[in-house]
Amino acid sequence: MTGNKIPTVYELSVPDRHGVDLPAPDVPQTALPTEGLRADCDLPELSQLDVVRHYLALSQLNFGVDSGFYPLGSCTMKFNPKVNEQIARLPGFAEAHPLQESETVQGNLALMFELQQWLAEIGGFAGVSLQPAAGAHGEFTGLLMTRAYHHARGDLKRTRILIPDSAHGTNPASTTMAGFTAVELPSDARGNIDLEAVRVACDDTVAGIMITNPNTLGLFEEHIDAVVQLVRACGGLVYGDGANMNALAGIARPGDLGFDVMHFNLHKTFSTPHGGGGPGSGPVGASARLKEFLPGPVVEFTRDAQGARYDLAMPDKSIGRVATFSGNFGMLVRAYAYIRQHGTKGLRENSEHAVLNANYLRVKLRDAFTVPFDRINMHEFVCSGAIDGTGVRALDVSKRLLDYGFHPPTNYFPLIVPEALMIEPTETEAKPTLDAFVAAMQAIAKEARENPALVKEAPHQTPVRRLDEVKAARELVLTDRAKSEAP
């Protein structure tokens, strides 16, 4: 490929060209208001073939799971089953209006009710709300519930949320957004939360702790029972970041580990496509004591003399709505289909193979790259991408991987490992793919020593080369005609 020379839709635009025809009005016309109208809405003018070729050309510059191996840590880039796309487009689902009377949408409500039940069963929770639109949205929701729980008990002094230093960056952001102070806890030498720090931190100002388990190093927290006990003993709640649930589904239930509230990322564990950055779906599960605080409405099932029916209802002490309607239903349909296709056995098999693949990559890569926590990991692991003395850094290794046809791992995260490369292969990748990736990584490590400039200048084979991010931030061209300076 020779570069991104694709014109923008405005550059393609030709006055008076059009892409679609609409019927003439079949009703008597009403005079338009005399003021408040615009002359022109300033959209581009293209033929339909222009549109199709434009977006097809753009798609060809893009890399998805369908294009190749995508070991982006903590993002669970697994196969998105095609049947789910077909199902979500069934008119009964796609054309349903969210404000229809419930008797006309019993199929949708039944689907949502069962998905609530299944997620509660998989996570070990008493109730689930499907409303949050993404993982971070679920975190915010869970923290508002935590706040509401303490306030409902008249306990207003709990202002701190404990967060391990390996946590996802959205955790502290969600914490501040929910009006708490984030208190970061150090990790111990084995990559666990420092238990002693938890002990010191726990007092009657702690509202709760946010735990990602397995953590972002891909390690199962070895002191999870003790941490949960300490936090609960001081009156705090335990929030689970479900981003890494792809290692746990069918293996252990966070509710059984003592978690009070957790979000699921349907776009990770349950295979709904990431869509280039959404839409996602972040349902929240809650223990018995937190269930009534869930955002709503949720779906309830009643059976009486008139028969059985599903309805939308607001939990008693609900924190309210966090989005319009009932969440990203189209994503719920796909997750439902995924769970239905797998069952208990399939979910466990997925987690097992996700863990198998990640451990296999760790042992295959540990000679070429430093693995700071070299023990049995779960669905992902972290190695250092820096090659000593060559100036080659994690980012360079990642860019060079693009030349080998692989999507890079997550870079520079978690922050506690300098030059981190976080690798999550997922269960849907076969051994030959993993072996090819290992070969590429080993080749890059060799190149870094023999010809570091080659690696530092990578990528060489992509539609564009390294982009000037400093220029982008300094000059801020955010629309096709804004060449304005940053304010």
Binding site: D165, A182, V183, P186, T390, G391, P452
Partner: protein, 378 residues
């Protein structure tokens, strides 16, 4: 074309090898005890590493070096393979602190973008005293004491920092120049003293704003965040005395609070108003008499995590005891903490130090509504 002033204190580090705890003023004694100069070897290690990084870089900057003669710089630069080297100061074989000053003055007259030096805290002090607080300074560690914030962790790390700074990947941050009082140190007394602040290339605070998206934040912006938190805390506690301690972080936070805070002094704030500046021990004790509610705001000084050392006379053990260990508020940017995994206390009062150590962890304010638990060194 970047111009770098390069200077080696050839006798740095000699005292340590022969049990002298520093070389300031005792170089002759060190030589008598058989110390070998080591600074040139350290400097060469850093320069060779830097040269390798330049050679590996797709677009290496051409660097113009200004230096002093012989073992004070020129030899090492040539040994590392640098060509564009101009000697601006010629020193005698037995160089002194006067030569350091003369070389730095010539760097300034000729105009350099950064001073790279090899030495310890004493060298850093001598250089910064002339170079001032606005000239970027970076140290290759070769001394006995390296408590100042301008040093890389190792010679290789220093090379890496320099390379990334020249490539525009990292910026500058304000850090402290500190030194132990060597006379007292030799008498086993630990008197860390803060002298001034300096600008140095610094790994910034990395923020993970979303998964897989790390950005680095300007240290001054982070200090503004911390100031916002402190402003809120001060406003939330009317009638409480806030004593602002020494150091560049507290100074920056003071500036964000519109308090003209000095680097070294202790200022007092109550009800969001300044009620005392550059206070002496006695003045602080008098204020403590008047304010039953009091807090002491500190930040780690230099690169080793010292919160309280014996070098600070106004914050005497009597003052600290009176304030109470529970009332100490610690501030730091995450980047500074990244270099200081531990917090240290050496107040000169064993009971007080033991009390701090027994806490195991202290909360440190690292941003607006963000804190971090940091280990206290035993």
């Amino acid at each position: 074309m970047p111009r770098i002033g390069f200077f080696i204190n050839p006798i740095a580090g000699m005292g340590g090898r022969v049990g002298l705890k520093g070389t300031d003023g005792v170089a002759a004694e060190a030589v008598r005890r058989g110390a070998e100069p080591m600074a040139n070897a350290r400097a060469l290690e850093a320069l060779r590493g830097f040269k390798r990084l330049l050679d590996n870089s797709p677009n290496p900057p051409a660097i113009e070096w200004l230096t002093a003669s012989g073992t004070m710089g020129r030899k090492a630069l040539q040994a590392a393979g640098f060509a564009l080297v101009e000697t601006v100061h010629t020193a005698p074989a037995e160089s002194t602190a006067q030569d350091t000053k003369a070389a730095v003055e010539k760097f300034l007259t000729a105009g350099v973008d950064l001073i790279l030096f090899c030495g310890g805290d004493g060298t850093a002090r001598d250089i910064c005293a002339i170079a001032g607080e606005a000239m970027p300074v970076l140290g290759i560690p070769a001394g006995v004491k390296m408590y100042s914030g301008v040093f890389g962790v190792t010679p290789a790390h220093t090379a890496d920092i320099l390379m990334r700074y020249l490539a525009g990947e990292i910026g500058l941050a304000r850090v402290e120049i500190v030194d132990l009082d060597e006379d007292k140190y030799r008498g086993d007394e630990w008197a860390v003293r803060l002298y001034m602040s300096a600008l140095t290339p610094f790994e910034p605070t990395y923020l993970q704003s979303a998964k897989a998206l790390i950005s680095s934040a300007d240290e001054e912006a982070i200090k503004d965040d911390i100031a916002e938190q402190l402003r809120e805390d001060i406003a939330a506690e009317p009638g409480t005395l806030f004593l602002l301690g020494p150091g560049s972080t507290v100074q920056a936070v003071g500036r964000a609070l519109a308090i003209d805070k000095t680097l070294l002094g202790i200022d007092a704030v109550a009800d969001s108003k300044v009620i005392g500046k550059d206070l002496a021990e006695q003045q602080i004790l008098e204020l403590l008499d008047r304010y039953p509610e009091r807090k002491l705001v500190l930040s780690p000084i230099g690169a080793q995590g010292f919160l309280l050392g014996r070098g600070n006379q106004p914050l005497s053990p009597a003052v600290i005891r009176c304030i109470g260990a529970d009332n100490i508020i610690v501030l730091s940017t995450p980047a500074k903490l990244a270099r200081t995994p531990l917090l240290r206390f050496d107040t000169g009062d064993a009971a007080l130090d033991a009390d701090m150590i027994s806490r195991k962890f202290l909360p440190v304010i690292v941003g607006y509504h963000r804190a971090r638990l940091v280990k206290v060194a035993a």
